[in-house]
Assembly symmetry: C2
Homo-oligomer: 608 residues x 2
């Protein structure tokens, strides 16, 4: 009762099926819900590029501009490619569905594994980066960042258990607050810098590099910047959550997402270059830029607050995607069935809870460090990009719909480009942590296949095709007693209704021979004519003689069904439970997974 009440307080009242349609999102809200992840990436992508370049000294930092342009071009290609996906799959076209539809089971499961790990990483990375924005503004909180990350994830979890629409309303404002803050900062920074309105730059040490500027370094910087693309997949997974026409609306959301992402990313990278920002220390690059543009005033804190909020919303994106994907996988029988449950409020509670669990595990493991988590992140994202775009190419070649030649080109370029980036990522980031993902994804795929085979085999075994009806069985009913009292008499009365009188027996395991004769005497009067079997127990063990007796009955053949009836007490107060029923618990535990054996508790209500 109390647990139910707590659940209601935290997650709200249950919602009937008929309300499902009203949960749909408008374009503006959908952009906030699904695009907060890709938009928020600009909070750390520039910093990741600079952190690689700075290895070759501060002079190498100017390479950030051509690298950022290259990443912006990649982003444009991927967004254009995905606009075709969301149009073609208005029922939801995540990489798993597109790959399954066009490439077959194995690529689909690879995409699913990549997506599931990415959802977890999105939560971890976004929480870590969001808290980094906070600790940049309030350095005193830096030592508590792991606790703060865990609290943030817990808050997002509760929000999502309350349902997706409320999440959308709750989260729209901060996304637009972030967009306005960053664009405002970029515009004001550019103008102020051009008019020399900004104060003298504070001194920052300009490190000399310990690596040369070579192709490999530039590739690593490019790969690091590809974290700007994380989250683009989110819209394609979430299409069915949009208002109709879903496909068209998703395209509009996709375009806006691309335009905003590219503008903000290029703006931040240019200002970092223009201001000569050096990455590192306990402050983020965006915080350094904002401090340079606005000083330590209110606008600075506005930018930091907006950055923190959108990153927490980005974590929220996964809470739409992960449970949705795992419920699709559960329907296809690749993961345990309980993931298919929609829970009380039409959200997929099991998926939400597992997602939060893994994300918190990663936060603790990597001590809440964004830079340590990011190398794991991008590789999965590009696996799903490549498989999704490759699947779209196969689709156009197969269906040959109107304009298919042009469409093959768009998705083909997307697939090839993201495939090349994927290889670059795997090579340049392998030792930094990408190997973990390279190990986890095949393990997940194998797990999916093993579970699927098991479910398929069970379905065949349970199938009623060529079933001749169940075989007849012999039924024995045993009432297990330790004493004779009203509760026992009631259990015996119940047992007698289950089967013909000749097959009902009471069983007493004798742990103290002194009690037996008195028990037999009471039984003669109150046993309702049911025969009493006394099992001796030389070792004072209750279970051993009972199991031996069951073996003896059931050794007669596979058709011997035994029902064990256990008299059980229902005390009036919760703490009284520990004073009773311990024996019943023991017996149930021992017989839970025994063939041809049914355990039935007969409750006896105690008045005090």
């Amino acid at each position: 009762m109390r647990i139910t009440l707590l659940k209601r307080l935290l997650v709200g009242a249950p919602m009937p099926l008929a309300q499902a349609r009203h949960e749909r999102l408008g374009k503006a809200v959908a952009l906030a819900v699904f695009a907060s992840d890709p938009l928020s990436s600009v909070a750390y992508a520039t910093e990741e590029i600079l952190l690689v370049l700075v290895l070759a000294g501060s002079v190498a930092l100017s390479y950030s501009l051509p690298i950022a342009l290259g990443i912006a071009a990649l982003l444009a290609v991927v967004v254009t490619s995905y606009r075709q996906t969301v149009q073609a799959y208005p029922q939801g076209g995540g990489a798993y569905i597109v790959a399954k539809d066009n490439l077959g089971t194995f690529p689909a499961l690879t995409a699913a594994a990549a997506l599931l790990t990415d959802y977890v990483l999105t939560v971890s990375v976004s929480a870590a980066a969001g808290i980094a924005a906070l600790t940049s503004a309030v350095p005193a909180l830096h030592p508590h960042r792991i606790t703060l990350c865990v609290l943030a994830i817990a808050a997002v979890t509760v929000g999502n258990l309350r349902g997706v629409r409320e999440s959308g309303r709750l989260f729209a404002a901060p996304t637009y607050f972030f967009v306005v803050s960053i664009l405002g900062m970029v515009a004001y920074g550019l103008v102020a810098a051009a008019l020399h309105l900004l104060p003298e730059a504070p001194y920052e040490p300009h490190p000399s590099g310990f690596e040369g500027i070579g192709l490999f370094l530039l590739l690593r910087a490019y790969a690091a910047g590809c974290t700007a693309l994380t989250g683009v997949e989110a819209v394609s997974n979430g299409v069915p959550a949009l208002k109709p026409p879903e496909g068209r609306n998703a395209q509009v959301v996709m375009t806006w997402l691309g335009v905003l992402s590219i503008t903000m990313f290029l703006g931040i990278t240019y200002l970092a270059y223009d201001f000569g920002i050096v990455p590192g220390g306990q402050e983020t690059v965006v915080s350094k830029i904002a401090r340079r543009v606005f000083g330590a005033g209110l606008p600075y804190y506005g930018v930091q607050a907006a950055t923190m909020l959108i990153l927490l919303l980005a974590a929220n994106t996964s809470y739409a995607g992960f449970p949705r994907l795992s419920s699709i996988l559960a329907r296809d029988r690749f993961v345990p069935r309980q993931f298919a449950n929609q829970g009380d409020r039409l959200v997929f509670s099991n998926g939400i809870l597992i997602l939060s669990g893994f994300a918190i595990f990663l936060i603790v493991l990597f001590a809440g460090d964004t830079h340590a988590l990011l190398p794991l992140y991008a590789i999965g994202v590009f696996i799903s990009f490549t498989l999704s775009q490759g699947g779209m190419v196969r689709r156009w070649l197969r269906l040959r719909e109107k304009g298919w030649r042009w469409r093959v080109w768009v998705n083909g370029v997307g697939a090839v480009v993201t495939g090349i980036v994927l290889l670059t990522l795997a090579v340049t980031k392998f030792l930094e942590g990408a190997w973990i993902v390279v190990v986890v994804i095949p393990l997940l795929v194998v797990t999916f296949i093993v579970m699927h085979r098991h479910y398929e085999a069970v379905a065949v075994e349970l199938s009623l095709e060529s079933f001749d009806g169940p075989p007849e069985f012999q039924h024995t009913v045993l009432v297990l007693i330790g004493d004779v009292h009203r509760g026992v008499v009631r259990a015996v009365q119940y047992a007698k209704t289950l089967a013909p009188t000749a097959t009902v027996r009471a069983v007493y395991v004798e742990t103290d021979p002194a009690h037996t004769s008195r028990l037999e005497e009471k039984w003669a009067r109150w046993g309702l004519a049911v025969p009493l079997v006394v099992l001796t127990s030389p070792y004072r063990s209750l279970l051993r003689p009972l199991l031996d007796y069951l073996d003896q009955i059931q050794s007669r053949g596979d058709d011997q069904m035994v029902t064990i009836v256990l008299p059980e007490f229902l005390p009036r107060r919760w703490w009284q439970h520990i004073l009773h029923n311990q024996t019943a618990l023991l017996v149930k535990g021992a017989l839970l997974f025994r063939k041809n054996t049914v355990v039935a508790d007969v409750p006896y209500l105690l008045k005090r």
Copy 2:
């Protein structure tokens, strides 16, 4: 299967009842098992006296001699008094039994509560002091003392789960090793000091006191030294474990215990005085004395090893007493019944495990510090002394056996003296931790009484006196299904044997209306003519509609018994369990404590 194997490896094979008599202990072994606790007290009693006296500066340390003589006298009084108890109660005369027999329930429960807390404290204090003997000899281990204490308790626990006789044999040698070591050290130290054979004493700072020498300080020192008496009760509790004639043998054990305790305690205290030992630091007083007598040679390490071993054996004393007392309390229905179980090897496993759990809790709470734990310890011991001796006085006055006048005097002096010490302890040690015991003991007594009232009320309610036989009931059998397959058909077939066909129904909770018609079609063919009830579920919840349906059936009256039959899978491999039966688990959990409702799982064995 695996758990059983592990259990066998740790605790040995089960033992038949017939072996119980062979478990009895001879006098020499009994002295080792039951007297290791009082004997081991000499390892810390002197130190406790000195730690109080040193507060008044090193000059006050010489007061240790008269105080030790006073404690020795008290020990003689208590031992003499207890010799009468063990003779009068050969069936085991712990303070609980003596008080119950002579003073009534309330004093008896007070004694029981005091004894139970003392058993726990004996384990904690002895483990902490034993490890202190080790870390005195090997100071590098000092930082790991909590871990070492916990490991020591774990080792003693496993030893005891293996049975009491093996414990006796295992533990006899170290007790005598300790007695010989300490008496040898005292004798050699006295002779060597008299002949000036000892090397120059190492420099030890002689602290000047910050308290005056007053009556209160001396009373506190006396109270602190009373820890030398802890454990004397053990023999009286353990009398039935001795070989017959139990009473006479226990008296002999008691006398030896007194003689040895007093000799060792006075010897150690005298040497500490003679050598000018100042207590404190990370080394125990006994270690300082042994180092002075033997230098850092092998004999020194022998004394430390013997001290550590006997203290671990002292912890072991509680493992004979605690489970025995709690099983007596369980038989009298003052604690939950599971404490009465004798377990597989004729030892009381539940009691052993609870004892270890609390002892480890205290060790961790007080960071393995003997001095922090001791103030809690002695007060409970003197409560049981006073009640036990007081009970004996009442007994002699009541029975007026031969020599009763003389016996009244012996026990009367014991009761009065220990009563006075008890008051002194309560006053002087209250703030140092004794208040915890003063709070815990009444709480335990109240708990005993509440449990007893509950068991008594239940016994009355279940009594067959004036019982007219059980009322008739209406039986409805419901098979809960989510699909139709071989497992379900088998469950339906089983359900049909339980009750007349007219009262058997299948119940399907419709979470997805699209599935219902296909299910109904399959049911028409395979439902064995059992009617199917489809419950709609607007909130997609499985439980709510089921509970509503049960309410509807059972609202017809108190005579409506419902049996819920659940088809359940038995997969071949353990990990496959998580892929099935989640719904069954949910339903069982929700109906576990529902009146008039029986849940029966029908297992279906999967071949893969």
